[in-house]
């Protein structure tokens, strides 16, 4: 049926809706990277000595490292001297204060993105930290959360007000020398979110950070650190967008999660960085290191991601299952269209006894999209009785896209069990004809079928994000009835 590929393409080639630029005066440092750049960033942020030393250590290590070459993604070498490593809206020079003081241009930007920062206007039950280029411009519901002892603020603020927590946890999950991009991030990171949930506290609302890249030629290097103390629990959401530009922009973030005994962290991402145009011009290089550490018994860390944007995605949210009976989960939907490339997956490192992990990966490829699932499941000698279940499905739309699966399995304990299921399918003509015969348009039919394919992942998303994900995939979500 000739009309299928066209319809599919129409469906997923909808215009990028967040491509506008905010006209705002920025305080930028000159292009280029050196020890002086690192010192300059640290000085701008008025950081304590230990953090400067930590950055410099990372920078020195980074100098000796090379970018990873094992991923199935292709791009010209990046000139690290051609990037601006720090850019902040001028009006925000002294860091976020109350919402009333936030530059109205910025408030408008977030409103346009559907993220109103006025607490009254906000969806009940979601606190937002808004990061604009290199700085956090506002954090909502801070005081309310503080009443139960929760710290939710920008990373810079945490460095000023809770340096002991930062010092205790920073770099303990993703060490500075972990990989090329993590080392770079450690040297030059600018801002991000910081969360600390005290023992026994269930965070009463969803926490979220919205990342926006605006300035040209700027890299965004955000750093997020979330700590759930004993018996604490939190659900955290992350969203991201960028203006449309012909040049590629680098986004190299690091996210560290620490879950102590009986703690639970649920981390959800809807990644919608600008993917570039149909010919593959422009778009964000999203080279991200995300890792969680289940440090105590029965700790639980769950990653859910919906990846629709970026020119290139290089990302493996992982869990180290140290504590006995701890649980790691990874639920992923990744869509690559046009010339987008994604190499994404997860690592589940089982160390503790009876640790369990679940991996559900749904890859959708269209146009000339290139996609690889890369997953590592490691059962250490100590991981007696550990279990993993991996399910990895690819859906191809059209015949010029590609999907690959690279599962790596290492088992050093013979009581551990690892299961891997994989499938590749196409939307069948039969399914499409059936839906249309019942009266649905071709677009709605495809949406429905794709949505069905992603269902196991979507049901893991918090409500607000499920809606966002639905819009992104052009998918009408189930569950409105029954």
């Amino acid at each position: 049926m000739n009309s299928i590929p066209n319809t599919l393409e129409d469906l997923i080639s909808q215009e990028y809706r967040h491509g506008f630029e905010t006209a705002i005066e920025a305080d930028e440092i000159p292009k280029g990277l050196s020890e002086d750049t690192v010192r300059l960033i640290s000085a701008r942020k008025n950081e304590p000595e230990f953090l400067l030393e930590w950055r410099l250590e990372a920078y020195r290590r980074w100098l000796k490292m090379t970018p990873p070459t094992w991923a199935s993604v292709h791009y010209p070498p990046i000139d690290y001297q051609d990037i601006i490593y720090y850019s902040a809206p001028k009006s925000q020079k002294d860091g976020p204060k109350s919402l009333d003081e936030v530059d109205p241009e910025l408030l408008k930007t977030y409103e346009k993105l559907g993220i109103p920062l006025h607490e009254r206007a906000i969806l009940a039950g979601v606190a937002v930290d808004a990061v604009f280029d290199s700085v956090s411009v506002a954090t909502t519901f801070k005081d309310k959360l503080a009443e139960v002892g929760i710290i939710f603020c920008s990373f810079s603020e945490a460095v000023q007000h809770h340096p002991e927590l930062v010092k205790q946890y920073l770099g303990t999950v993703v060490p500075v020398q972990d990989n090329f991009y993590a080392a770079l991030n450690s040297a030059v990171f600018s801002d991000g979110s910081f969360v600390y949930i005290p023992p026994g506290v269930r965070c009463p609302m969803e926490l979220s950070t919205y990342f926006r890249i605006n300035a040209k030629n700027t890299g965004q290097f955000e750093r997020t650190l979330i700590i759930a103390d004993r018996g604490a629990s939190v659900s955290y959401l992350e969203g991201c967008t960028a203006p449309m530009r012909d040049e590629n922009q680098l986004h190299a973030a690091v996210v560290e999660l620490v879950a102590l005994e009986d703690a639970k962290i649920k981390y959800s991402t809807v990644q919608n960085w600008y993917p570039g145009d149909k010919e593959g011009r422009g778009g964000i290089y999203n080279f991200v290191t995300k890792r969680g550490d289940c440090r105590g018994a029965r700790a639980h860390i769950s990653w859910t991601q919906v990846e629709t944007g970026s020119a290139i995605t290089w990302k493996y949210p992982s869990v180290i299952l140290r504590g006995e009976d701890s649980v790691g989960e990874f639920y992923s939907v990744a869509l690559t269209n046009h010339r987008q490339q994604a190499d994404t997956g997860t690592k589940m490192i089982h160390i503790g006894r009876n640790t369990r992990s679940t991996i559900v990966s749904k890859g959708i490829s269209a146009g000339f999209g290139q996609q690889a699932y890369r997953g590592l499941v490691r059962m250490a000698r100590s991981a007696t009785g550990a279990r993993n279940h991996t399910q990895c499905d690819s859906l191809l739309l059209g015949d010029r896209c590609q999907a690959h699966t690279f599962p790596y399995i290492e088992v050093r304990n013979n009581t551990a069990t690892v299961e891997h299921e994989a499938s590749t399918s196409r939307i069948s003509e039969d399914q499409l004809f059936f839906c249309r015969q019942r009266g649905l348009s071709a677009e709605d039919s495809v949406s429905m079928i794709v949505n069905g394919f992603c269902k196991e992942v979507f049901k893991e998303l918090p409500m607000e994000f499920a809606v966002e994900a639905q819009k992104l995939l052009g998918v009408s979500l189930e569950g409105s009835v029954g």
Binding site: N2, R436, G439, S441, M448, I449, G452, V481
Partner: protein
Amino acid sequence: MLSIRNLQASVGDKPILKGINLDVKAGEVHAIMGPNGSGKSTLSNVLAGRENATVTGGSVTYQGKDLLALAVEERAREGVFLAFQYPVEIPGVGNVYLLKAALNAQRKHRGLPELDAMDFLALVKDKMKLMEMNESMLYRAVNEGFSGGEKKRNEILQMVVLEPCLAILDETDSGLDIDALKVVSHGVNSLRSPDRAMILVTHYQRLLDYIKPDFVHVLSDGRIQRSGGPELALELEREGYAWVGDAGNEGAVTP
């Protein structure tokens, strides 16, 4: 309601329908019988708009419109319903969700307000009773893991919810046990009305015991070779298709 004139269609280079003529008026039920591979499903699919067979000649008029010019979903919204010989599975898409989306797409087309979740559920539960289906089926993925008979029953459930003007049932009776056959026939009969028409494709008289056709046609080698009343089906049941003639039989009787 439906007027098919000299309809010809090919799959690839192979002509399958070689000049079909058929008139179906509102209120009528037509049965189409014929040997395997004679083109019955192809005819049903061409009427519904499936593009794997290419129409090479002839015309189809439906309620005064050129049916062949309409897209698949437009035909559906205009009231053409096809119950599939082999219903397809759609993993992850709930039966109830598909039904609601389909009904509302059709209502919208007809200028009716969309049904909300509550009204829709009330309607569909009512229809499920009629089809003697367990409500749990609503929340399962479309046809996924359904038995052959359950899939067929599900097709008819969709039909009674959508209330089409022209229903084409392609071997809905195949694979049904005797109780299911009665239930399905009851569902079909509940839709019979002076402003609806039906085309039943079947191999067996037993379906016609429950759903009385007004006309019976024999399709063979891409043509309707004979037409008659309900008694023609009985004759076929007794004597098989041998006498209808093989490919290109000169003696074929066309109405």
